[in-house]
Point group: C2
Amino acid sequence: MSQWCNFRQLLGRHQLRPTTLRLRVLEILGAAPQALPVQKILALIRTERSVNKVTIYRILGDFCNLGIIRKINPEGRSTFYELACEHHPPHPHFQCRRCGEVQCLESISLDHLCEELKEVLGPGALRVEIRVEGICPKCQALTPKKV
Amino acid sequence: MSQWCNFRQLLGRHQLRPTTLRLRVLEILGAAPQALPVQKILALIRTERSVNKVTIYRILGDFCNLGIIRKINPEGRSTFYELACEHHPPHPHFQCRRCGEVQCLESISLDHLCEELKEVLGPGALRVEIRVEGICPKCQALTPKKV
DNA sequence: GCTCATTTTTCAACTAAGTTGCAAAATAAC
DNA sequence: GTTATTTTGCAACTTAGTTGAAAAATGAGC
């Protein structure tokens, strides 16, 4: 993702100063092959420097309100986030029941469903979130088939 | 819902004793026209008698594990639940950004999407949750159009 | 009915996510 | 460099949900 987006410009367009932390959060989300929980973002940054969680919550909250990132509400306690640039349009997510990780199902289009929803709900439908639950390949490999 | 389901039998089938609280939780969910947050269920029961929140969490958790009710993870802190009997099969939900209520979109079929998902994910996809965000009619009526 | 084993409910204490208000630090504009 | 504004940090708090163990309720056998 990061190779396509200039994060400084992106922040500039939204009147946000390109601080180290904001850029780092964008870089992390841009480099991630999947949606990340707040805790993971915090932990990653804390391997490099000290940060207060409040700051991360505020950065993520601001980005989300501006539409720079998307919030995902999976099963479990923590919230996940992903970059929302034009190279990463809305798509369903797959969450593993064992490890809790959230993968992007980018190959599945939401078009058909969105059409159907608009018919039923009119313009009131502002956003669609699809979450598929199951066991991811990695976790399936860990458990012998019939156990 | 309640008119179709015999809750005592339902509990019996799952080796759960038909206690007042368990029956009341089922009645409340059965009578609700929409999914309810834990807090609401607690509050409703507390208008009648005193209950400990732990009990309600445990009842809801047990029901959920047995497939008697379904858990919905909407935006916001609290978890919502709905009855999962054969008269109320899985369906998308609409959540209002203003009031936070969660309506059932029972008229929208998940069949097309589920087919598509099974193709991509194989049998790994165990459950699909679809959440539509928007402003509900009630809240739209409260706010003058262009404000 | 009474007794015993099991299930259900309660209590108190705890965890973990996320929030708030305000002070300190960093930054941009002048 | 000084000042006004934005960003970050700190401490304290709120709220949802969890845990373990004790107390209460229930069902089965008598």
